[in-house]
Every structure is written in structure tokens, then in C-alpha cells.
């Protein structure tokens, strides 16, 4: 589980390929850190209007997490940024920033000076069962694209390898091997291996690096 103290006051940017699980990771991170001091979740996804962090506002705000996005047109695909983002990036709050997939990282360029000044962490979420990130080479290519669009250096990889509802413990293990090799080649860490909560008992070897994804954005009414 998360060591909240280590991340307290930090600015943590979550990037990744389309559909790698960035938003679900950001939401679950927010959920776990909610109790540990002032926390802000900035939804910077302006490339795709479906399945964004802002969709969980009603869950997070009662827990004291401030969710930042364009409040006037929540569902729109407008490239509109909230001025509040600049304020919280300069302030003492812990900030998690959920960024749009792939080239959606371009928006980070606008915040780059502030993020560098704050020594922000840039974590890239990887699912090896997604197209284009199935091996270390694909992961590095995607990482390179994100770095060149954002102008920021990725500081860690998060293993989120899964097949949705069909996930089994071995998916996490297979993903871990690939993501750790990519991280070794990139010279960065793998702080977390994500899994569905029910898989936790089957993955003891990951110890405190195992990260349970309790909250899912998949519509509950669709069976």
C-alpha cells in the first residue's frame, strides 16, 4: 500500500498510453491518500471526453479530495484548462495530475516550468496487454513519445498489466517482468504493481508494492 508520507506535498503526474489505466490508477491513488492531508486531483485530460477523473468527482469530494476541471462543461471535449491548476501546483497541497493518453501529454508543456521547479514525479502507467506496449521496446517508444510531447522526463513506471474482468494473477507477473525490464533499460523504478482487489492473496511476492485498484470506471450497469 501507499506510503502517504513519502508523497505528502509532492506533485505527482500520471501519464501513459491511451487506455493504460492512468485514470483508474490516479483515482485509486487519490482514494488511498485522501485521509492523509490536503489532496487535489487535477483532471488534465483534454483529448478524450470519456472515462475521465472528473467522472469520479461525486465519490472523491465527500472524502475531502478536491477535483479540478472545467466545471461549466464537464462532459465537453473542450481544450479548456482550469486556472485553479496553477494555484495548486504552486501551493503546499499534494497534487495528483491525471493526463490524457499518448499525445495528450502535450498539455503538460504549459505547466513544465512549474513542474520542474517543484521536482514533480512523472509516473507512466503501463499495461502490457494493450497494443503498442507489449514489450520493453514498445514501452520505451511510448515513453519517448510522451517525453517529447511534454518536455518532461518520466521518473517511474507503474505496472498495471491486466485483461479487465478476465484478469488473473499471472497477468500481473507477466507484466511485472516486462515492465521491470523496460524500467531497468530506462534507469527508473517500478514503485507499484496494480491488481484487482480479489487477486491480492495470490500475489504475496510483490509485498508492499502491490496496489489494489478498488475503484473502477467501467459502467456498473453494463453486464
Amino acid at each position: 500500500m501507499i506510503n502517504g508520507d513519502k508523497l505528502a506535498g509532492r506533485k505527482l503526474v500520471i501519464v501513459g498510453a491511451y487506455g493504460s489505466g492512468k485514470t483508474e490508477f490516479a483515482l485509486n491513488l487519490a482514494l488511498q491518500m485522501a485521509a492523509k492531508g490536503p489532496l487535489v486531483l487535477v483532471d488534465l485530460d483534454i483529448v478524450n471526453p470519456y472515462f475521465r477523473s472528473r467522472d469520479a468527482t461525486e465519490i472523491l469530494e465527500p472524502l475531502g479530495v478536491e477535483v479540478v476541471y472545467n466545471r461549466q462543461f464537464r462532459d465537453a471535449d473542450l481544450p479548456a484548462l482550469s486556472a485553479r491548476t496553477d494555484t495548486v501546483l504552486a501551493g503546499p497541497e499534494t497534487v495528483i495530475i491525471d493526463v490524457g493518453g499518448d499525445d495528450g501529454a502535450r498539455v503538460l508543456g504549459r505547466y513544465r516550468p512549474r513542474l520542474e521547479e517543484q521536482n514533480a514525479e512523472i509516473w507512466m502507467v503501463v499495461n502490457c496487454f494493450r497494443p503498442f506496449t507489449a514489450d520493453p521496446e514498445g514501452i520505451r517508444t511510448t515513453a519517448g513519445r510522451i517525453e517529447s510531447k511534454s518536455g518532461l522526463k518520466i521518473t517511474a513506471l507503474v505496472n498495471n498489466s491486466n485483461l479487465g474482468r478476465e484478469s488473473i494473477p499471472d497477468h500481473v507477473r507477466q507484466g511485472a517482468a516486462i515492465v521491470e525490464e523496460a524500467a531497468r533499460q530506462m534507469g527508473v523504478d517500478v514503485p507499484f504493481h496494480c491488481c484487482r482487489p480479489q487477486l491480492i492473496p495470490d500475489l504475496p511476492e510483490f509485498q508492499d508494492k502491490l496496489f489494489a485498484m478498488e475503484l473502477s470506471l467501467f459502467p456498473a450497469d453494463i453486464t
Binding site: Y18, G19, N48, P49, Y50, F51, D75, A76, D77, N127, F129, R130, P131, F132, A134, N162, L163, G164, R165, E166, F218, P219, D221, I222, T223
Partner: protein
């Protein structure tokens, strides 16, 4: 190829490529942008051509050209963009050219919104553009089913020399599910001896939808109608769920059918014998499925993300034998199980236990 976790829109692109599609012409629009995005990355890897046209009108005419040359070609858009393509689609249908058209529907009318809807059912199944023609239309309910149907669609298009449409909604385009790609059941496909492939050594082929002699045009129309009859006879597809003893049959397609499936189970918990009829082809509409339902059926309830479009085909199929009710949401709002259950319970005269 092992299972992958794919977004509906990406899976559309990969399925088309696996089915031999090498040409994509389109213009971006939410919520289907991952289709051109994926094609632009993948088509060059397999020796194909991706081209972002200057407009939807240009894109569909490029499809017309590539299809006329006998190649497997696809375009994709969402509601307003599909409206723009209608002239070209009518030309393609009139010229009897095979191609695949994707419509990931968003709420309308007009520019509408960007949330999911099923309000383009009339446009997809009744012609859409001018003239007496029909597209062959599939309405998948999951990412895997969409993949399977797309891989088959290119064969169906070639077999009938007719454009095929995949009708999905924003949810299906955006949701992520595990998928695998399997070759479809083989069809005997006629050679494309009509295609404009260069006429050295043979008479030239002409692709055209203009026919100024009325008698000839009527003859052509009869040929097209015969083709649509053939589709109705041979291609209707549907899924029946818990209809064996059903008193109330809910009819729904696409994403809505998945919600309705959970509604059927909840209604049965309440003592109401409900079932689901899910059309998989919506042209041809699965009329034959209605003949298979038991005599216990007392009423039908069509559920759609529209103001009521498919419900008209349900009424035609039921032919006055039972009342047909409707429940729908519009504007991009997905109907919630509770509201469907409320309508269903009222139809059946309240809860049973």
C-alpha cells in the same frame, strides 16, 4: 495472437486490418477518434494507406474510388459526419460497391453532444441517403462481438456487393474489453471481375450510379431489391435470453441490450417472467426471431437510447399480436436499470412478490 485489452475504437481498426482492409479515409470526430488514430499508426505497418481527408464528403468519395478499384476499404465517423457522407453512401449503394462504414453514434440532432446514443437507427436501416437502398447493418453489443462482426463484414460486403455499416455508440467505442482476433467462417466470394483494375486485354469496367433510361434504372432497382430480399432471407441474426417462458420480452440492441440483460434478471427476481430479444443485424431486422417466441408472451418493451426508432420495426414484426411499449433516454443519457424496471413493472401490473 494472444488476447489483448482493447478499446472498442482500436479494436475496430485492428479487426479491419486483420480482415484485409488496407485503405482508410476519414475525418476526425468524437467519440470515434481512436479509429483514425489507430489506423494512421497501423496501416503503414502493413503496407496500407491512411488518409485524413479534408472533409467527410471527400472521405466517402475516396472510399467510393477505392471500393470501385476492388480493394477492401473502410471509413468511420460519428452521427453528424455520417450525415455528411450520405450522398456518397447512396452512390456506393447504387454502384453496388463493397465497403465498411462505422458509425459510433453520439446524441443529436444537429451537432448534438458527444455522449452515447442510438438515435441514428432510422438513418442506418432505412436508407439514410436518397433512393431505394439499404445498407447491411450490424449492431454489436461488446467489443469482442464488434471485432467478430467486422471481420465478417468485409466478406458480406464482397458477397452482396453492398456497403455494410457497424452501428455502435460512444460507450462501445470507448469501453475496454479483452479481445482476440479469429478468422470468420469462410464464404464463397465471387471474383471482383467488375472492378476497375486496368482493362488491358478485356472490355473496360465502368463504375457509375447514373442511369438516365428509366426502364434500365427500374431494372437496376429490381436487382437491388432482390438483393435486400436475399439478405432478409439468409442473414437475420439475433440473441434470445431467457425467453422460453417469458411473459414480457424486452427488445434492445448494442450497449442498451447489456443493461437490459441485467434488467431481465432483476425482473425475474421480482417474479416477473422477462426475457430479452437482442437484434444483432438491424438490417435485415430479425423478424424471424419473433416467430420463435412462446405463446406465453403478453407484451413487448423496446428499450433504446433514442426517442423510439427500432420500436417501429418491433411493431411491424409483432404485427398487432401484443402491445408494444417503449422506454428510452435521449441526449446522450444511458437508461438506468431502475427506470426500465419501473416501466416493465407497470406494464405487467406491478410486482409479483
Amino acid at each position: 495472437m494472444a488476447k489483448q485489452l482493447m478499446k472498442g475504437n482500436e479494436a475496430i481498426g485492428e479487426a479491419a486490418i486483420q480482415a484485409g482492409c488496407r485503405y482508410f479515409f476519414g475525418y476526425p470526430i468524437t467519440p470515434q477518434n481512436e479509429v483514425p488514430e489507430y489506423m494512421s499508426r497501423r496501416l503503414p505497418e502493413v503496407g496500407g494507406v491512411f488518409l485524413q481527408a479534408e472533409s467527410e464528403v471527400a472521405a466517402i468519395n475516396m472510399v467510393y474510388g477505392a471500393a470501385g478499384a476492388g480493394d477492401r476499404v473502410m471509413t468511420s465517423s460519428s452521427s453528424p459526419g455520417i450525415s455528411l457522407k450520405q450522398e456518397g453512401i447512396s452512390y456506393i449503394a447504387g454502384s453496388e460497391l463493397p465497403c465498411l462504414i462505422i458509425n459510433i453514434i453520439r446524441g443529436g440532432p444537429g451537432l448534438g453532444g458527444i455522449q452515447p446514443a442510438q438515435s441514428d437507427y432510422f438513418q442506418a436501416t432505412k436508407g439514410g441517403g436518397h433512393g431505394d437502398y439499404h445498407l447491411f447493418v450490424f449492431a454489436p453489443a461488446s467489443v469482442q462481438e464488434m471485432v467478430d462482426l467486422i471481420m465478417e463484414s468485409f466478406d458480406i460486403a464482397d458477397y452482396y456487393r453492398n456497403p455494410v455499416m457497424i452501428l455502435g455508440d460512444g460507450t462501445l467505442g470507448q469501453m475496454m474489453e479483452p479481445v482476440e482476433f479469429k478468422a470468420p467462417k469462410k464464404r464463397d466470394l465471387p471474383p471482383k471481375d467488375w472492378a476497375t483494375t486496368g482493362c488491358a486485354g478485356r472490355e473496360r469496367n465502368v463504375i457509375n450510379s447514373l442511369s438516365l433510361v428509366a426502364e434500365n434504372l427500374e431494372k437496376h432497382n429490381h436487382k437491388l431489391q432482390e438483393k435486400y430480399r436475399h439478405m432478409k432471407e439468409n442473414e437475420q441474426r439475433w440473441e434470445l435470453y431467457k425467453t422460453d417462458d417469458a411473459e414480457l420480452v424486452l427488445v434492445a440492441y448494442g450497449t442498451t441490450a447489456r443493461i437490459v440483460k441485467s434488467v431481465v434478471n432483476k425482473l425475474r427476481d421480482q417474479g416477473i417472467k422477462a426475457g430479452l430479444l437482442r437484434p444483432i443485424t438491424i438490417f435485415p431486422f430479425p423478424e424471424k426471431a419473433f416467430a420463435l417466441l412462446p405463446d406465453t408472451v403478453k407484451a413487448f418493451l423496446a428499450v433504446e437510447m433514442s426517442a423510439g426508432q427500432m420500436v417501429e420495426d418491433v411493431r411491424l414484426a409483432v404485427d398487432g399480436k401484443c402491445p408494444v411499449h417503449f422506454c428510452g433516454r435521449t441526449g446522450g443519457i444511458i437508461p438506468a436499470p431502475a427506470e426500465i424496471i419501473k416501466v416493465a413493472t407497470e406494464i405487467m401490473g406491478g410486482e409479483r412478490k
